[in-house]
Amino acid sequence: MIVFRAMLGFVRLLVRSVFLALGQIWARKGRSILTTIGIVIGVASVTAVIAALTGLRANVLADFASLGVNKIYLHSNKPDRGPYRHARWDDLMLKPDEFDGVLEQCPSVSHLTRIAENSTVVRVGQQELDVRVIGIEPAWHKIENRSVKTGREFSLIDTTSARPVCLITESARDKLHLDRDCVGQRIRLFGRAHRIVGMVEPSTKFGVFGIGQRSEEILVPFRTLRKVQDQWMYAIAASKSPEASEEARAELLHFLRNQRKLKPGEPDTFAAEAIQRFIDQFEEMAAMITLIAGGIVGISLLVGGVGIMNIMLVSVSERTREIGLRKAVGARASAILLQFLVEAIMLCLIGGLIGLLFGQLATSGVAAIPQAKLERAYIPTWAVGLSFGFSALVGVVFGMFPAIKAARLDPIEALRHE
């Protein structure tokens, strides 16, 4: 019961102190606003940076996800040391037969497709269209998660005997003004008629990593394309699960090193890059930027805090007689301490609130810039909590000294103060 009463008394005093503090702050509006500028700038910048990062992260992760998190890209790469550092690119190029038997030897890899790419202009009647022609193997549909909607995938015969067949997307069909059901019709690619065997789902890629999204895609069997372009190729593998992607990558590295008969110690002449790895790297980078931004903001909050301390010391000095009177009529030292501490905290919280509003303004501004690709930027709830938490902390830390000074004033001296 006594404990309850004491707590009730404390809550009353706290509420009283909050109102008192708001009154004091209101009475000195101009000064209070100026005092909180440090806090305002600190909170505004931290929330804007966090919001922008959140937006960037959402975009990048969505891009990665659309690329497929269990994918591993394999391409030739010139090492910067070892015997191959001066090798000709032609000699380092991946070759189709280097991948023979890969699935048997790499148990963590579920699918692999060799890929060749070229671009050309397709003409149908009056229509001309820039297209990206991609030579694929049937596993590509599983890896890219893009299936054939009407018609069929490439058959074994299409693949092995390099038949002139192709798959197109709906938008390519529409831009070429082909019939709605164009399966069975022919289009000319590289001077040769290719029969359309099916319609493939469009790419879901967008944003930062959306390579080739400006041109339309036409898919042909890998070997068909190698007939016109036998230089550069790469491969995409899929691990059995996103967690197994590092393991699959290691298996592929080992496999290709064996194929190329690289000696231990010699660097790879190709690269295997797992998407998961990019995601991890990006997350690390995002965390780093957040930390750096946090550090900068910490400094501005420190400066803001010193401003708060300064103004509170002025306030204590100006109100010495008031403190003396309050003590004379029965205020305990703890009540005076609380009064000034709450005032400092309220100042900081008001600064935090204003800062948050500016941060939101900045976020909306950034999100509205089309090139910035930050349309998903927003201030996450934890950042709001963090801002207020830090503001309150600054208030406690920098308000404590002036509050203690006020609480320790001798009432007799204070009442004599001019």
Binding site: L13, R16, L325, K327, A328, V329
Partner: protein, 240 residues
């Protein structure tokens, strides 16, 4: 006895020098006394007031208030005593300029944990008692000097204190207003209030029923003034 001071000494250190502001003061004050403390500056009357008002602790000696030994209390205990049992009236009123008369008056109640409604009701009552029932919402800057001191007296009375301590309460007022304030003190005294007042004006001290004169930290004389009625004192007082 309501107040018992025994052999109170207060020593201040100024550099290496020690100043005995009070040097063995013993004093009893009974309920409903009206005491004036007089003396030249430096005689120790302010120090005595501060100790009586629990704003300061004696270096040695004991102070009992209502049988409670306050001379050994800690800061929190003294704050409580000031809050519940002592009312202060200052020479320069000490009103908070941004608060209305009612809020100024209710200030001590904040520290006794009384709610908003209770504070307002008691502030209205006590402002009525000092004749300022119609001035509840006025700021100090909208009040005359006499009205300000009435507000200050109302604030001192709001906790029904055992003693009212007034330090030169008419020092900042003209003679007409002073007379009104002293009449108010007389009225409060008639109503049973114990009053201790520091003054250096004989005119003012004549209102009291007991006059204490101090010199060099000691009590030099302690006279009781018998009065026929309850009228403000005529100029004849002075018998022991």
């Amino acid at each position: 006895m309501m107040i018992e001071l025994e052999d109170i000494a207060k020593v201040y250190k100024v550099g290496v020098e020690k100043i005995r502001a009070l040097d063995g003061v013993s004093l009893s004050i009974d309920e409903n006394e009206y005491l004036a403390v007089m003396g030249p500056s430096g005689s120790g009357k302010s120090t005595l007031m501060n100790i009586l008002g629990c704003l300061d602790r004696p270096t040695s000696g004991t102070y009992q208030l209502d049988g409670q030994l306050v001379s050994r209390m800690g800061g929190g205990g003294l704050a409580r005593v000031r809050n519940r049992r002592i009312g202060f009236v200052f020479q320069s009123f000490e009103l908070l300029p941004r608060l209305s008369a009612a809020k100024n008056v209710a200030l001590p109640l904040i520290y006794s944990g009384i709610g908003w409604l209770g504070r307002r009701r008691r502030a209205r009552d006590v402002l009525g008692r000092v004749g300022l029932g119609g001035r509840m919402r006025h700021r100090p800057s909208q009040l005359s000097g006499g009205e300000k001191q009435r507000v200050a007296i109302a604030r001192a009375l709001i906790s029904d204190p055992r003693i009212l301590l007034a330090d030169e309460p008419t020092g900042n007022l003209d003679s007409k207003t002073s007379a009104e304030i002293l009449a108010l003190f007389d009225e409060l005294h008639r109503g049973g209030q114990t009053i201790v007042m520091v003054t250096h004006e004989e005119e003012v001290a004549r209102h009291a029923r007991r006059v204490l004169r101090m010199r060099d930290g000691r009590i030099s004389s302690d006279e009781r003034v018998e009065k026929a009625g309850d009228q403000p004192a005529p100029a004849e007082g002075g018998e022991a």
